[in-house]
């Protein structure tokens, strides 16, 4: 049982690390800003996944609510940062076209 719980948690933590690295790669190499933002959001999803997996206590126990609150905050901040970034990109494109 203990071994099983550990592997579930570890499995999700490792997928979080995978999402983070693939996102970082995309953020670095993409030239178009919208693609950079998508990659950055994939990176963020990886961080959220690591936090939530660390809070997981198995199917029969309540998880740790602190990382949950952190991630909830994180999702909202990420989407507002994305919205601001998209507006800035649009403005940049407008200036370039003029």
């Amino acid at each position: 049982m203990t071994i099983n719980l550990l592997t579930t948690q570890e499995l999700y933590v490792l997928s979080g690390v995978f999402l983070f690295t693939i996102g970082l790669w995309g953020t670095w190499l993409h030239a178009h800003y919208v693609r950079k933002i998508i990659s950055l959001n994939v990176m963020g999803a990886g961080v959220f996944l690591i936090l939530i997996a660390l809070a997981y206590r198995g199917k029969d126990l309540l998880p740790d609510p602190l990382p949950h609150a952190l991630v909830l905050t994180g999702i909202v901040v990420a989407v507002s940062a994305t919205a601001l970034a998209l507006v800035i990109i649009r403005r940049l494109e407008d200036e370039r076209d003029e």
Binding site: W25, L62, V79, S80, T82, L86, R91
Partner: protein
């Protein structure tokens, strides 16, 4: 097959789909495909949150991450006919060395995280303390208790971050011409909008004892705003009066600050509500925050002040 094996199979299936979606969303040469896959990725991620017993986050992910984030990204596609973007124009040595670097970083992260999980007993985290104090928090949903009582300070600052972001959007952005849909969608909007407002009210109230809360409710309000805009109301239901708009955007942060100040004046430390009143203070803050979050996210989708749009028209 026993239940454990089925769970493991489900986990593997979920993780593999998630990884493949992320990989294709990042690597694909077509921006349109990348955005659509990113939205599906968000929906799948919500399933992961539900699997890891984080229903509050699953709700927020569907409404905010996949829903609103997806709508924002989709809206950028209207400006460009050409959606091919290739990172392969980067020199091969750069692609390989960046790949090697992030792989090293990922291996390092995985290794240290596995060490940490191995070394620490499962109950070393602050969660135990949060559960011990839950009865004094005024709510019974532990995530809401952390967000609006134990760590209310963080949530206050988060609302300030949201306010700062929307100020930037208002200052920089010009509203895009609204997309006008067919009549069928307008009829749908007619009954979908009040339903969404009703759902927002329910989710807000339920947040005290079940998954839900101000952020999810605010996102539902914003969804109503976006639907209104798509159905031919370019202001998304936001007030045209600039003062009313600004007041609405600042309401959440303002009420939060006033409560914080009032609590200090009553002789407690910052945001330390008396336990018997905590429930009502939390409800007051969350109601104000829901309105502000809904307006903020709607305005973010419009991409600039709707009053400006009226002047330009």
């Amino acid at each position: 097959m026993d239940a454990e094996t089925l769970w493991t199979l489900f986990d593997l299936l979920l993780i593999i789909s998630l990884a493949v979606l992320a990989l294709v969303a990042v690597l694909s040469g077509d921006r349109r495909r990348s955005i659509v896959l990113f939205i599906i990725f968000g929906l799948l991620l919500a399933l992961v949150w539900a699997r890891l017993r984080a229903p509050d986050i699953a709700l927020a992910e569907v409404a905010i991450g996949a829903g609103l984030g997806g709508a924002l990204l989709m809206a950028t596609l209207r400006r460009h006919q050409q959606t091919r973007d290739d990172f392969r124009h980067r020199p091969a040595w750069l692609q390989w060395s960046v790949g090697l670097l992030v792989m090293l970083l990922g291996t390092g992260m995985a290794w240290s995280l596995l060490l940490v999980m191995d070394a620490q007993p499962a109950d070393w985290r602050l969660g135990a303390e949060a559960f011990a104090e839950l009865d004094n928090s005024g709510v019974s949903n532990p995530v809401t208790a952390v967000l609006l009582n134990f760590r209310a300070w963080d949530t206050l600052l988060e609302l300030a971050v949201l306010l700062a972001a929307i100020l930037g959007i208002k200052a920089l952005g010009k509203p895009e011409p609204a997309y006008v849909s067919e009549n069928a969608f307008r009829d749908l909007a007619l009954w979908l909008t009040p339903l969404l407002v009703l759902m927002a009210g329910y989710i807000l109230w339920a947040g005290a004892h079940a998954p839900g809360g101000a952020f999810q409710a605010g996102a539902l309000l914003a969804a109503a705003g976006i639907i209104l805009r798509l159905a031919g109301k370019p202001d998304g239901g936001l007030p045209h009066n600039e003062t009313a708009l600004r007041l609405g955007l600042a309401l959440g942060t303002a009420v939060f600050l006033l409560v914080a100040l009032g609590v200090i004046l009553a002789g407690n430390t910052l945001l330390q509500y008396p336990p018997d009143q905590a429930k009502w203070w939390i409800l007051l803050i969350e109601t104000a925050a829901t309105l502000s979050i809904g307006m903020t996210l709607t305005l973010a989708f419009i991409g600039g002040s709707p009053t400006l749009a009226k002047d330009a028209a």
